[in-house]
Point group: C2
């Protein structure tokens, strides 16, 4: 914590080391160790414009003890270790810039326990959010965090994911009760007991949530659950401008309406969704809104929201309680990425993810829209606006250096704008590789130094997902 010590150097292990590690792992795991080019590249998938940097090998883990054994072999050789869930991260989190071993967690896909009385469950990290909800449905329970992609719960915890429901149910930070993780020294750490709250020492759970695999590998999660609401109403509300929509969001949140989801699509994104999902939504800024509660309360809430929208010349707010209608609506929301892809065949979609205090939201989105126009780029906007979090999705032809430069400049300005408004470069996607350059601007040198101190102390040889979050 004093003067930064010289960075523990991290180099790509030499070929003898790689051979030795693969030999030792193969002796233990047999054909669960895979070195084919295709599998290695698939495990460095990025879904964005980060270049693919494959690991040296992939090992398919089946238990906490497997992960411990793999980490021990790697630690002995100072070999990088990267955890892989479903590969839906957006910032190069699963890339292996220094090579190393990718641990594929997809085989660790069991729901180990459901404690319905305690509203919690215990899962392995490879369980996806859809799988856990499928498992829970008969018991009237659900896990509310919904980032869109059918991500693995281990990956969601590692990136502090959130999504459309966060305005009501919080993020992974709020919904993980406890974790089991394998640390770089091979220790298996359980971060907390299962009790609903505790003040017993340092918050190891939140130390690991959002650490993106740079401290340890999550091998078990205890998750908070919610009761499936008795009634759900959802609907669409058009607005004359982005500002009007954002102002309606502010008043909705301030007035204490317990909105479960409140999502903004700009007119560009609406057009893309209409085309991709075969919908006929009005091509103007829209809010997609959902309420959870009793029959009476969702009706009351929807009516009050309609009144608020009308104050800002929004509306009519048309809502439905039929499950099919809601599903269709949210499928369209979840498909914004693919809808954006569909706008411009051949283009790469770049995800951005700023989040600002809600009072600055209209101003930030407005300035960003102007910047999009002035930059001559195509970038639909969609956002979890109840939290002040919005995504622009610039579309880039990767063979057009000028367009790449314009998009890069746009992203730099977007992030600087959000940070100047007391916001963050990432509300939910995480830092990974591509946002590391914004860390000092956002946190300042002192906080960044503290983060480095943590990383060096926990992982002195820098074997855990090196080259992510903070440079050490």
């Amino acid at each position: 914590m004093n003067a930064p010590s010289p960075a523990p150097s991290r180099e790509r292990p030499g070929p003898e080391t790689v051979d030795a590690v693969i030999r030792e792992l193969t002796a233990q795991f047999g054909n669960r160790v895979v070195t084919s080019q295709a599998v290695r590249e698939q495990h460095a998938s990025t879904l964005t414009w980060v270049a693919n940097q494959p690991p040296d090998a992939v090992v398919y883990a089946q238990s906490t003890e497997d992960v411990q054994a793999i980490v021990r072999v790697c630690a002995a050789h100072k070999m990088p270790v990267v955890a892989f869930g479903t590969g839906t991260s957006l910032e190069g989190h699963v890339n292996a810039p220094f090579g190393g071993i990718s641990i594929d967690m997809s085989g660790m896909n069991k729901v180990l326990a459901v404690h319905a009385e305690d509203l919690d469950c215990v899962v392995q990290p490879g369980v996806t959010r859809k799988a856990v909800n499928e498992h829970l449905r008969d018991q009237g329970l659900f896990f509310p965090i919904d980032p869109g992609a059918d991500a693995s719960l281990g990956g969601m915890a590692a990136t502090r994911a959130s999504g459309t429901n966060a305005v009501r149910y919080g993020t992974m930070k709020d919904n993980v009760l406890s974790l089991t993780a394998v640390m770089p020294n091979g220790d298996i750490v359980r971060t907390s007991p299962r009790a609903r709250k505790t003040s017993a020492g340092y918050d190891l759970t939140r130390l690991l949530v959002g650490s993106e695999g740079t401290f340890g590998i999550i091998t078990e999660l205890t998750l908070k659950l919610a009761g499936i609401p008795e009634a759900i109403s959802a609907g669409v509300c058009p607005f004359p401008s982005i500002k009007a929509a954002c102002d309606a969001v502010i008043v909705t949140i301030q007035s204490g309406l317990p909105v479960a989801r409140i999502e903004l699509l700009d007119e560009v994104q609406v057009a893309a969704c209409n085309a991709y999902s075969k919908l006929t939504l009005p091509e103007t800024p829209l809010l997609l809104v959902e309420f959870h509660g009793t029959d009476a309360s969702v009706r009351e809430q929807a009516e009050r929201f309609g009144e608020i929208a009308a104050e800002f010349e929004g509306g009519p707010y048309e809502w439905a309680t039929k499950a099919e209608d809601r599903t269709r609506l949210w499928q369209a929301r979840h498909d914004v990425y693919w809808a954006a892809v569909g706008m411009r065949p051949g283009a790469r979609v770049i995800a951005t993810d700023v989040c600002v205090p809600i009072s600055r939201l209209a101003e930030c989105v407005d300035a960003t829209k102007r910047d999009i126009v002035e930059s001559g780029i195509t970038a639909p906007i969609a956002g979890h606006v109840g939290d002040g979090n919005f995504h622009t999705s610039p579309l880039v032809m990767m063979d057009d250096p000028d367009e790449i430069a314009r998009v890069t400049g746009f992203i730099e300005r977007l992030v600087a704008r959000a940070i100047a408004m007391e916001g963050t470069c990432t509300g939910e996607h995480g830092i990974g590789q591509k946002k590391m350059r914004f860390m000092e601007l956002e946190h300042g040198p002192e906080a960044l130094n503290l983060m480095r101190t943590l990383k060096r102390a926990i992982d002195p040889d820098n074997i855990m997902n090196p080259g992510k979050v903070v440079a050490v």
Copy 2:
């Protein structure tokens, strides 16, 4: 993180060091440095049976820069630094077992900003929860965490406090958006931007919340606020047994009733409260319950709760929406400590604070009540049972070694019982000095080693509140 390095020794600084530090501090702070015995002892107040261990001097801080200057002087001399808020902690948190400087934060008592649109505010650490709520009331907002005592918000963050409202609003972990803190090297760290959520790197906010001053001194807090509910209903419901009351709590939580407070008093505590607060509550296990919402919804919720209580032979559930009646009821709840004191004049009240998964609550409370009887001690029970957290308050004559031994044995068994039920030794009071001995039992050696690793890395000279949370 590898083999534990030899513990950085922590000794009481010699008299020359103490003199030098006090001289340097006096040169900077004049008569804000106080060394009188009375003031030093007051700053080591413990409210419990932990012996008073006064600091060498008390300095009254007025700004973050003051705290930074004090920490820099202390760091240069490896002098311990202990932050002091209101002295209402229960585990010897403000004691100075190695001497050192107590920084009194009570002068840092300004509300720096209220962002009503964002439902947050920025306060100095010496602001108390009642003071912030007084400040906010005109704006229809409140800070929901209520540990009973009118504690300072800095202290509440440092101990990860919660209290009666936590079942609805969460704990300090959930309600601190960002902190400013002075670290042992004198760095001023801001843990997070003010945006509602972020995935930008390690969760420094939650690293500091609950760290009990052992990592750094909190000098500013950004807090989440809630809207004052349109309507509040509160009431009392008697039950034939502790088990019946606990079972009613479980069904209430499971059925998704958004209860704002649900508190258990056993018949011993009720009798004490009746005597102390001049009430006429039925002397049987009681639940005190409160709902927040609209007029219609609190009525609906109260009625549903009454039906659930009746299923377990509880009731009648009598509730009121009048503010005076509610205030009287909750004042009685907040006075349980003083009511316990009143039961046995001259006795010390020892606070306990276990928390278990709610499914184990009835079993844990039942076994604990039996243990109280078998141990021949007096110990009323009150609890935040919606979270599975309950307090027994053994009354001890400090001149009776046999009674001290019986109470000590009872506490050991209580903690072991809670931990065996996947619970914790402390739901909200923190570890301080007296619960350090339970840390390994609760967390296991690997997690405890990780906590030590964090402490050593952040505070290598062990100047920040040494002798608390973890031994290094």
